[in-house]
Amino acid sequence: MTTTVIETSVDSSRALHSVARKTKIVGSALVGPALILVVAINVLPAFYGFYLSLRQVFFFADEGYVGLQNYVELFRDPFAWQAVGRSLVFTFGSLAIAVPLALVSAMGIRRLGNWGSILLTVLLVPWAMSPIVVALLWKWILVPSPGGLVGAIFAAFGVPPQDLLTDPLLAMPTLILIGVWRNFAFAAIILTGGLGQIPRDLYKAAAVDGLGAWEAFRKITLPLLAPSLLIVISMLTISYFNEVQTIIGLTGGGPIRQTTTLGYLLYHTGFVELDQGRGNAIAIVMFMINMLLIALYIKILGKQPGAAA
């Protein structure tokens, strides 16, 4: 009697075990193809890039191992450091305009209700466009002639036409503004969502306590919106740091390298000059900076209730 009981329990546990193993195999088989493609396209090239960055590669011809020479030359090149500086100016300049603008828009959108969601849609149209097409479009808008759109606006104020994109001082700010035009509304989506999470009662209570609008913003909105703001800032940082297409289309890194960011330097070295060993060294440096930013980003995202992996 006892033996049978033990036998069945062993049987069923064995059956359970094999079921568990089977589901594990099925699960892995379902995830496998996606995992392979993602690793092949997004991860593998990074390792290959590191390998190539230790070699002299020029015009698709591998001329052998050179150790860290590409990196040493890169770190000794004043133009590379200038490009790092230009990247910082572009990234933080864009952030400084995009984040407050997105915040103000998100607050307006919340207040407007249905009209607000229409406004959000309108503001997102430039974001749905191709960056290089945006570059072509703005090149025409900025054409230095009274027949151009900006030229006509300048003329209305008595200012002669300016070639903003070839002016060493104005090219970078112009690029930043166009970048912000293209994608600040994306940040407004997330901030609008974040504002929606703040209980309205808090504002009522604040009004009862006699808090002004500014104080309510500072003491309720900002602290409670902090998680969304952090997400937005980290996403935009990655996006602006890697921006290259509008730079290719609008200034080609000029005038006199004023808009040559690290991303543009990588494009120019690797794809135009075809100095691929050195280009890969830049790519690895950029990849490392990105990994750092992404690690921060995942950490921030991991703290989000409901959004954690």
Binding site: K24, G27, S28, L30, V31, P33, L37, V38, V39, I41, N42, V43, L44, P45, A46, Y48, V57, G108, R111, W115, L119, T121, V122, L123, L124, V125, P126, W127, A128, M129, S130, P131, I132, V133, L136, L137, W138, W140, I141, V143, P146, G147, A152, A155, W181, I190, G193, S239, N242, V244, I248, L266, G270, Q276, N280, F287, N290, I294, I298, A309
Partner: protein, 273 residues
Amino acid sequence: MKTGTRIWLVLGCLLAALVALGPIVWAFSTSLKPTNRIFQVPPELIPSVSTLEHYARLISEGVHWAFFNSGLYAVMAVAVALTLGTLAGYALARYPIPGKQLVLVLFVGAMAVPGFAVLLPTQLLFVDMGLYNTYVALPLLYAGHILPFAVWVTRSHFSTIPRELEQAAQIDGYSRLEAVWKVVLPGAKPALLAAATFGFLHSWNDYVTATTMVDTPSLRTLPVALIFFQGFHGRDWGALMAGVIIATIPPVVMFLLFRKYLIGGFADGSVKG
């Protein structure tokens, strides 16, 4: 709300809408003007004489083939990414998988890594593997770029659907596959549409991958063809703005049709801007 605040709010919105859409309206207006009126002073917003010559010129230069390529690549990439992404998203929500946490971090990380950072080694890898300058190069790369997002949104969606729904269907005599196909998948429509829209926009709008991964004119995408057109014909603004308009219509229409799902997908997920 006080009337004063309200007026400022409305004015601010109008200004924002003008800044967002004005440039696009201006491009459309330019694309309809005869060449000799394009630089007219003062500029006309609504052309007094309009023409479709610039659009015809793009066609005579074969730019419509590039339009076709862009569409084909985007559709192929979305099809691959959605199929593989849904399978993986479902499995990650329902099955025990060895190293699941690591797999998830990998997908989230890959979602955030911009393709551009690894574009140069990818080009050299594709040259070595004979994939450079082929019809599959771009769909494959775009599929890889959008797949992490597809996995992310489908997984978060499947996690919200109660397991009991499938179990009930299975009790009713459906197989697990049928239960998923008939019960779970239709409910996942918002997640699938968000991923499809995002994927289409990413693929259609790309320039830098397309210009570095294919070389033959017959394989070119629309953005690449427009930049080449600019290189050959200098500043033929009428034709270039016609190109801007045809390149902008598909993604903007997609965005407008499915914005609800896309915005929803971004609001609870995360993706690069």
